[in-house]
């Protein structure tokens, strides 16, 4: 690939990012997932967790914000190709010279970055409405954890989108996939509460490592070893998702061209 072609692909990525940002900013379904649902979960969790231990407030803020990240990725990122099929624009996207993965990456980046608002909204809710003291004890590692969280979530979305497109039966499970990740990733309670056999499933999820890094850096318990492990796992899973998504997209495009079913449900 030449430098000029790469620059053009990046331009497509950022344009997709910009357009998606504008589109989802006025979509009430998305706004519910990004703002309202995490806020309701935050209210519930604050009510349930903080009377026993007020220091849990920052844990709740981060955990409920992460529920917003996951829900947005699942419903918006997961449908990023299927939505193009519904609107009849998938053929045009596939026919243009930029690989489809750049387009999906741009779309997922927009939805994941926008859903970080859920964390800010939960923060404001806990601080202003519930008058709870909130402090990020290790701000710099926390910022690095956020960057890696965004990267790993966006790459996870690159897997979801083609899987949902390839197999509509999996997409029927979309609603049922929301809470299991909240549980397995330990967004709002430690996975130690769960039966031991579920732990390997948690370890396979980038959101688990993201939650682990963000919770630990927020409450100041993150040791260098802990950070290296969580960051390393997020980077590893993000890269693996990226590589595997390229394979999945190739399969989809080959299959769609061979069967002439690109625009068909």
């Amino acid at each position: 690939m030449t430098l000029s072609a790469f620059r053009q692909d990046l331009r497509v990525l950022f344009l997709t990012f910009e357009i998606t940002l504008k589109m989802i900013a006025v979509d009430s379904f998305v706004l519910f997932g990004i703002l309202i649902q995490p806020l309701i979960i935050a209210v519930l969790a604050i009510w349930m967790l903080t009377p026993k231990d007020p220091t849990q407030a920052i844990f709740v803020v981060i955990g409920s914000g992460m529920t917003g990240l996951w829900s947005t990725l699942l419903f918006i990122g997961g449908n990023s190709i299927t939505r193009e099929r519904w609107t009849g624009t998938l053929e045009s996207l596939v026919a243009q010279p930029t690989p489809l993965s750049y387009v999906i990456f741009g779309k997922n980046l927009a939805s994941v970055l926008q859903s970080l608002l859920s964390m800010l909204a939960s923060y404001a809710l806990a601080a202003l409405l519930f008058d709870l003291e909130l402090r990020i004890v290790q701000p710099l590692p926390f910022a690095v954890s956020i960057v890696l969280t965004v990267f790993s979530f966006v790459c996870f979305g690159l897997i979801l989108a083609p899987v949902f497109l390839l197999n509509p039966a999996v997409q029927q499970w979309q609603n049922a996939m929301e809470f299991p990740v909240y549980i397995l990733a330990g967004f709002l309670f430690p996975i130690a509460l769960l039966p031991g056999w579920t732990t390997p499933f948690s370890y396979l999820l980038a959101p688990y490592w993201a939650a682990r890094a963000l919770h630990a850096t927020a409450n100041g318990s993150a040791t260098p070893q802990e950070l290296a492990l969580s960051w390393g796992m997020m980077a590893l899973f993000g890269t693996l998702y990226l590589v595997f998504s390229r394979y999945l997209l190739r399969v989809i495009l080959r299959k769609a061209r061979a069967d002439a079913t690109l625009g068909l449900e």
Binding site: S28, F32, A176, P180, I183, L188, F189
Partner: protein, 267 residues
């Protein structure tokens, strides 16, 4: 008179069945399994683990019962709303309003199968609670619990009928549905005891469906008698009836306005 009754009964039952079948026309066992069995299970597990983490493992039954009964609102809110709103989206509303059919039978019929479906959903939820989370039903008066579940699915379907009418005039149906469903998670007492809520929030709780049904179910599972929880069950039915009445008034108002303004199919 008898003929009119017969026609209305037929309209009620056929309308109820067809709207349910039409709503789930895409339904395959796998879809039902995902949305009506696994999703509620995941929700029960999440809130029960959150609740026991917040309090203690001994309180698991509080959260299991609350969130199992809360499943009634999945059918009540989403199912009923989509049955009512579906007529608008599928373009059949204009034909319905063109018929001389009894509007009350037609309107209430939309909720009938969702009440039955909701009962099944709650029973499955309680079953998950018994098998996975150790819910103890040994003290339970089962017929009384069934009556309570029926009353609760009736009242949540009443809320669904009201929200369904909102979907006839709004494009943000799913936003409204999601808001109502998640608001119930806070206000219904499924996860936060109503007694711990501030006065204004407790007042909202008692004005919503589910709250009394959840309280009555907890009482019955703890060994209380039907007579003890009867006021809660009667209250739950009354709340449902008020929502149905409000929904019906809104439905007729919408029909009147749509005819007057010629906006029956406007989006």
């Amino acid at each position: 008179m008898l003929r009119t009754l017969r026609i209305n009964a037929r309209l009620f039952l056929e309308g109820a069945l067809l709207s349910y079948v039409a709503l789930f026309r895409w339904l395959r066992p796998m879809t039902y399994l995902a949305s009506k069995i696994m999703m509620p299970l995941a929700s029960i597990l999440f809130f029960t683990y959150l609740g026991t983490y917040a309090t203690s493992a001994g309180n698991a039954s509080f959260y299991v019962i609350g969130n199992a009964i809360q499943i009634a609102s999945v059918s009540g809110i989403y199912g009923v709303t989509m049955s009512i709103g579906g007529d608008r989206w599928e373009g059949t509303l204009v034909y319905l309003f063109g018929t001389p059919a009894n509007r009350l039978a037609m309107f209430v019929g939309r909720a009938f199968f969702h009440v039955l479906d909701g009962i099944l959903g709650v029973l499955i939820g309680l079953g998950w609670g018994v098998f996975l989370l150790g819910l103890d039903l040994s003290q339970t008066d089962f017929p009384a619990l069934l009556i309570t579940i029926l009353a609760t699915t009736f009242s949540t379907s009443g809320l669904g009928l009201l929200l369904g009418c909102v979907s006839l005039v709004s494009l943000d149906t799913m936003f409204v549905n999601n808001l109502a469903y998640f608001a119930l998670l806070i206000f219904s007492g499924a996860n936060i005891p109503v007694t711990t809520l501030p006065g204004w929030m407790a007042a909202i709780s008692w004005a919503m469906p589910l709250t009394r049904g959840i309280a009555a179910s907890r009482g019955l599972i703890a060994g209380e008698s039907l007579a003890t929880v009867a006021p809660l069950i009667v209250g739950e039915v009354a709340v449902g009836a008020v929502y149905i009445l409000l929904g019906y008034v809104l439905f007729r108002w919408f029909e009147f306005q749509a005819r007057r303004r010629g906006t029956l199919e406007a989006f």
